[in-house]
């Protein structure tokens, strides 16, 4: 009995303290270092905050470069497909060209009319105010956090809490700002809570991320009867978001009222950060 307890102790001690010929650090030393870093980062010590900002910027760039070849693969695949398609289409187009020439003037007229109508439609929902366009550097999907990293930071006057939109649709808000990059918490993240308004009666609720594709509406008015297909907008009650930014359409899922987002959080390549003047950082 005593011998087996001794063996257990020896094995534990050996696993924790033995460095081996090629290893510079023992496991126990590294565990202590990792724990120290964790607590320094968790309790927001200033020097570790600055260090983290520098590390973040460096690693985000490195990640962007390291994944570049994989991002190229779909493009190469697409261009090969396009070449084959183009050859086939070219033959068909030559035949159709003659037919289309006769309708050219009519088409041009309709196209101009269509463009003008589109401009009128877009101008109605345009979000006004100063904004900056940003490229999505990282959109690593994780079971823990639904967020993206963009290539704009405090250098571009970005602050924590600023709303981030894709076109005219809300996708999330800034939660971490580095000098050259920032992290955007997406609407479907578990930590995301956005005050919204929807329906003819301007019902108020909270859009709450659940880590799934579709966030849920919580704190709905009492005796509210859920309805499909209502457009959900930001209410601006939190004083952070501009009221009236479109988010998505309501969808009944069992007893829950979910929101199908207008902008797919997994398909973001460029986003716009609304540079709203803030009294203090909102997060």
């Amino acid at each position: 009995m005593s011998s087996s307890r001794d063996d257990f102790g020896i094995a534990i001690r050996s696993a924790l303290l033995k460095k081996g010929a090629r290893q510079k650090f023992s496991l126990v030393f590294l565990l202590i270092v990792a724990l120290t870093i964790f607590f320094l980062d968790t309790y927001q010590f200033k020097f570790i905050k600055v260090t983290r900002t520098l590390i973040n910027d460096g690693i985000y760039r490195l990640t962007n470069i390291s994944t570049a070849p994989f991002k190229l693969l779909p493009k190469i695949n697409l261009s090969i497909k396009e070449t084959f398609l183009a050859t086939k289409e070219n033959k068909e187009l030559k035949i159709e060209l003659e037919k289309l020439k006769s309708k050219e003037f009519q088409v041009e007229f309709l196209k101009n009319q269509n463009d003008n109508l589109k401009k009128i439609l877009e101008s109605d929902v345009k979000i006004k105010g100063k904004s900056t366009l940003a490229k999505v550097l990282l959109d690593k999907d994780s079971p823990y956090l639904k967020s993206i990293v963009i290539n704009r930071g405090s250098k571009s006057d970005i602050n924590k809490g600023m709303p981030v939109v894709d076109g005219n649709y809300l996708v999330g808000k800034i939660v971490e700002v580095n000098y050259l990059s920032s992290r955007v918490l997406l609407l479907n993240d578990l930590n995301s809570r956005i005050p919204i308004t929807f329906g003819e009666n301007s019902a108020q609720a909270i859009l709450s991320g659940k880590g799934k594709r579709k966030p849920e509406l919580e704190y709905l008015p009492e005796l509210y009867v859920p309805r499909d297909g209502l457009t959900v907008f930001t209410s601006g009650k939190d004083g952070i978001f501009i009221p009236g930014i479109p988010i998505g359409k309501t969808e009944i899922d069992g007893e829950k009222l979910k929101v199908k987002l207008f902008s797919d959080p997994n398909q973001l390549s460029f986003v716009t950060v609304q540079l709203i003047k803030m009294k203090k950082e909102n997060f």
Partner: protein
């Protein structure tokens, strides 16, 4: 010339698991396949760490595991050090299992991997829910752990095949 080539080949072959570990931590290439099947996600880093620490600890090394964890935290936006602690826990269980076992088979590895996975996730959950602002979804973590455990034999077979082409150093 032949000796230089042989040494270079040996070096490259031995360093590949480490490169995969770093690349998985630093890159967007992830093992979360929610687009195909919403709950399907697994942690390949933990499998790599466990397998190579168990079979040949000189391939990875605790220092590299620590740095891979720190990089993973930065990329994922987690508190610094949380993945490093989680990975080092796996490394610790693997080192302990290596000390106390003689006959190693897929099933003994698979069973002991369950223990490593349990402690790794336990450490992660304790640190994340008690000392940080991150909300932890236990269901998501359970799915992740389940699929990591489920995929271990497949990765084990791939690594075992790879190990055969490696020129192994004497394990320290």
């Amino acid at each position: 010339m032949a000796i230089i080539y042989k040494n270079l080949r040996e070096h490259i072959v031995n360093v590949i698991p480490l490169i995969i570990l770093y690349y998985l931590s630093i890159s967007e290439i992830d093992t979360h396949f929610s687009n195909f099947f919403e709950i399907l996600s697994f942690n390949l880093q933990i499998i790599i760490i466990y397998y190579w620490m168990l079979k040949n600890s000189s391939i990875l090394g605790n220092g590299h595991i620590f740095f891979a964890g720190i990089i993973n935290d930065v990329v994922m936006g987690l508190p610094l050090g949380i993945s490093a602690i989680s990975y080092l826990t796996v490394s610790f269980v693997a080192s302990y299992v290596r000390q106390v076992t003689v006959n190693i088979s897929l099933f003994t590895d698979w069973f002991t991997f369950l223990i490593a996975l349990f402690f790794s996730n336990l450490v992660y959950i304790i640190l994340a829910s008690n000392f940080s602002n991150i909300q932890v979804s236990f269901v998501e973590i359970s799915y992740n752990a389940f699929f990591t455990f489920l995929f271990y034999p497949f990765i084990w077979m791939i690594f075992n095949f790879y190990k055969k082409i490696m020129i192994l150093r004497i394990d320290d």
